[in-house]
């Protein structure tokens, strides 16, 4: 199973099983040193495994990056990725 943050890329590549984590790329299991969050995301992904029924399925782990679902991080990440290039 793939556990990834880039839904559009996973949709295009279509691995046999994929779990989507709505976090910034590079932070799949949460923030640095947040072991509780790291473990929660991994446990959620493992819990999804028996629910896959066919190849190419992507299951959303419903992990928000910020508690209120604020998506300001997307603009910051986009700018950072374009700047770093």
């Amino acid at each position: 199973m793939v556990i990834g943050t880039a839904l559009d890329i996973m949709s295009k590549v279509a691995p046999p099983r994929a779990a989507f984590v709505d976090h910034p790329v590079g932070c799949t299991f949460g923030s640095p040193h947040d072991r509780s969050r790291n473990e929660t995301v991994l446990a959620r992904a493992l819990a999804e495994l028996p629910r896959f029924t066919q190849a190419g399925e992507i299951r959303d782990l419903h992990c928000d990056w910020t508690p209120g679902g604020d998506r300001a991080w997307e603009e910051e990440l986009r700018a950072e990725m374009l700047h770093d290039h």
Binding site: M1, I3, P16, A43, L46
Partner: protein, 156 residues
Amino acid sequence: MPLEYLPIMAQNSAPKPQRELASPSKTAWCPLKKPISESRVALLSSAALRLANQDPFVPREDLSYRRVASDPKAGEIIIDHHSGIGRVPKEDPEIVFPRNSLAKLVDERIVGMLSPFHLSFMGGLRRHREIEDDLAPALAQELKQAEVDLALLVPY
């Protein structure tokens, strides 16, 4: 609507054509054979990560891989991948390579057992044919020999 990364990649590539995304020529599907609580689990990472005492990966088209001991006490993880997203994961590789979390889930009996090693290789390679013909079968053989039931791939 989740953030779309393909347009960012396209913008970064311009004026060159965007990096090609390759799908497997054969769809792999293997039913689960055991409950997770009885399964042996391995991590796969495309972060080109390794233990500090292992040979570094050589950007950008390194087709080698490393066995990384699954015991978190085996040593510090180094990320060799050249991606610009690496600043945060290099501060704590656990967020892309949850070696400690997986070991804890074994202790909690949510996961059956650890593979003796995890596997890491370089992501973002352009040599798709060699990945499918050489690298991927070699990784699969490693997992088979280690009698791994579940492999979790975390793209970088």
